[in-house]
Symmetry: D2
Subunit: 291 residues, 4 copies
């Protein structure tokens, strides 16, 4: 649903999860109605009626939302969270997520996000781009976005991450790794205080280690893919948000496979970021629900 | 959600549509809760908060559903339909839809439906296959399904349709045209008393008239597709349920394009029939909502 | 096959078509061998052994190609063209096609081509961008490409086209309409002296006239597509080079359908332009062969 | 290209591979022309002009092929194989490959192949179906194909494989594992004297071991795929012939993922078998070239 900027002022998204049990939807919708809200859309999913977990995304319109927010939060806490053992979050559509993008030298994912941001396709504010290389500074600044060059000096990753945290903490709601070629430490992930989305190539089957496109070519793969996922301590093993593939043939050399891979990557990452910024992606263990 | 046959006995699907207005979801979920039902899944969609139409599919478990059905229907009618100007229907998961399949000489769509039916992939009872040709009788009867050969004699379509109606009326909840090569009269559509789903080839753009695959080849099309839709009086112009395409090249001749078309057709038709039988397809004007 | 710039200096592409008859491949390969050339790749296609037309694309390496070119052309003319009634063209890989891009206000196709050009993904020189609007000038010039604003003043399309021809004639090998929203006159097409590629949205079936995305939504289409084709006098009816689709749902509004359409368009157009610039697309009547 | 049965009598396919070097295509086409053959189609691929390997598939028409075969083979051997260090094979289109299908209890891949065989979509003779279970006997015999039940008794796989070899040796040109749930020994693979094609599920990334669909669900995968490959001693690691995927969502349970997987598997396997039977699949190390 497209929402004009005036209209978006009074629209909220309520994300909840709790043990599945009778009466959740009724209670949530009842509570919103009592608050004077009008539901625009509602998606729910349960992993199983008995012993399962329940997830719901509810978008509703409530006149004077910003002023009413404390009252809304109190009602959710008392009437819903306590009663159902619920985890919940409430976001306002008028407040786009603040996003920092990490990049290295490769531009395809980064530029696609900047361009979609400029077109207004993704409800986010890109507050900064951080890179361990200077190469992409001009491209980024042409979009009016700050570019911070944080090199890893003498292999001192800890120092670089300390600078990252200084720039990020309190300033961002989401970090996007747009082909950032450094591994983040678990300490960084703990302290950054925002979810981190990564993109990487994918094949059927996976080809582990260096030179995956060459390995894929050597096996004769017919599909090249990409996966966007949340970053967890297990590198590239976090919950999957989005995936896609493109068909290739024996006539494509490794360079062409890599270019096709780049095309798939930018599409997959931009959809993953869009859905996250619309609060459509709920995490459940190492899996996701995408409403 | 997979439901075992014992469990399915007490599961209902409530499909509603009405002018969008505050409080619908709350009222529906409240009503189901008061009846002792537990919601398993709920999907809703609105064409617009102001002046739009609201659609909802709610699956719920209610112990003793069959016995409680009159009480449930009364509650829906009084507490929901009257208040919201609602159209609604209630189906029981334990009662699969009764389906008649029409075919001519081509077997790919028909056999795919029979085979999926045997595997239990589609919640339906295929009560009969009707054909204007005898060719497929053995194949159909091998699945234990009655085959009725109703030829069009001396071009007397009205006589054939009269026989069709005799076989169908009161006996089916859905008619599927699995490459049935006769055009149904508007009189038949009025009297049959069940929705009719058709499958036909599709291209970008459409190629009207006879020999569409040849025309597609002559234009150099790179995609061959199929569309499943509800049949309305405007031939092949009814609400679209499902579509898909397959990639082709100049090296494929018309016969191969036709074979690829058949592959797409059987996949698209089987998904459309499955979704219809699960009450996932709601009609809105000449469009569909597929939950 | 990726060819480094030094290597590409001596690589040629020979494109031929003629009535199918025995001995063509042998004669072509024999002639190239006698000239001292080494075949890198060869693709051929016949519309039918009897009465059909034969097409072949042969890429070969010949040391000192630039100097040898007159000798090569003479051999082709005498030993092949005369004998087989052949149409042919010979291009050098080291001489990328000179491309002019026409755009209006929409940037997605234009920027994708400029960006791929900068990455070296498409073997072309973009010599100019021509637009009937000034909006995209800054974006284009940031890539170091000349931008010519040629407005249609007082509806005088003939005057605008005269300026176009002045800019283009002798300067381009290909014109790409990257969402250029003016219809080219048949006079322009005759005089421009280069093939013209266009991109437009496509659906199954086609929705003719204005507001196609709205019409597609009203019919409930599940796939949104795009078609790249050569421009002929029959608007949007020329030979198809490439097509693709993306899956959509009832939950996507017209604005979102249009955004998905833009994503498909830029991918399809960039592949079509790449293949054309690699001499992979051969025209046959209103169809194409894409090697 | 569709070939009628009369026409196919005189059509041959010549498959060659050798170190890449100048003059191969010229020599092959010259040799065929001298033999009185007319080339219908020719595909070639080189892994690299210098130090690479060259592959070619040439389809040609030669009147009186069956009688002329010794003369043709002699010419190939003397004029081509010796000169270029060539491996080659010559097949006649009129002699479809003899295929044995192995199955266990699951019917989707098996029935799809039997049905396509009956429709004449794949140029093969299915000479037998071998299964370690009796379940599918009726289905297979309804197609007029012999069904051999070879159970593994008391875990004695060697005894079962001995029976397999007795049935197969000299009688088949291809073995297809259509969801056959026993691992073939390397001894069997050495002795069977025919290539073996297998189909298995695939994901991005791979999920190793038992319960792959459950593992895929637990990670939130959005694509379910299948891979058809030649069987080598490294289980499921052989050269890939064909792959495809289907999109899934969090709402699909493991049973539904498995059903989607079955749909992809039958499509992928049938294309792989068709291409193999048309001599389109050339092996190169652990990779394939698919013309």
């Amino acid at each position: 649903m497209t929402v004009s900027s005036t209209a978006s002022a009074d629209i909220a998204r309520l994300i909840i999860s709790c043990p599945d049990q009778p009466g959740i939807v009724a209670a949530v919708t009842q509570t919103i109605a009592e608050l004077g809200g009008n539901i625009i859309s509602l998606d729910q999913y349960s992993t199983g009626v008995e012993g399962g977990r329940f997830f719901q995304r509810t978008v509703f319109h409530l006149p004077g939302l910003a002023a009413a927010r404390p009252r809304v939060e109190q009602a959710i806490e008392k009437k819903l969270a306590d009663a159902f053992g619920m985890e919940w979050s409430l976001t306002e559509v008028s407040r786009p997520k603040r996003v920092a993008i990490f990049a290295s030298k490769t531009d395809h994912c980064l530029l696609d996000l900047l361009w979609r941001h400029r077109r207004g396709e993704i409800p986010m504010d890109i507050t900064m781009v951080i890179s361990n290389h200077p190469d992409l500074a001009d491209d980024v600044r042409a979009f009016g976005i700050p570019y911070f060059h944080v090199p890893v000096i003498n292999g001192d990753k800890a120092a670089a991450e300390a600078k990252h945290l200084e720039l990020l903490q309190g300033n961002v709601d989401l970090v996007v790794l747009a082909r950032y070629m450094q591994i983040l430490s678990s300490g960084f992930l703990e302290q950054v205080g925002a979810p981190v989305i990564n993109i990487h190539h994918s094949f059927l089957p996976a080809f582990i280690g260096a030179g995956p496109y060459q390995k894929a070519k050597d096996r004769g793969v017919k599909l090249i893919g990409a996966t966007a996922h949340y970053v967890t301590e297990d590198l590239d093993e976090g919950p999957i948000i989005e995936q896609d593939v493109i068909r290739v043939s024996h006539a494509d050399d490794v360079a062409q496979l890599t270019r096709y891979g780049a095309d798939v990557e930018r599409g997959v990452l931009s959809r993953a970021v869009k859905w996250h910024c619309e609060d459509r992606v709920l995490r459940h263990g190492n899996s996701t629900i995408v409403f």
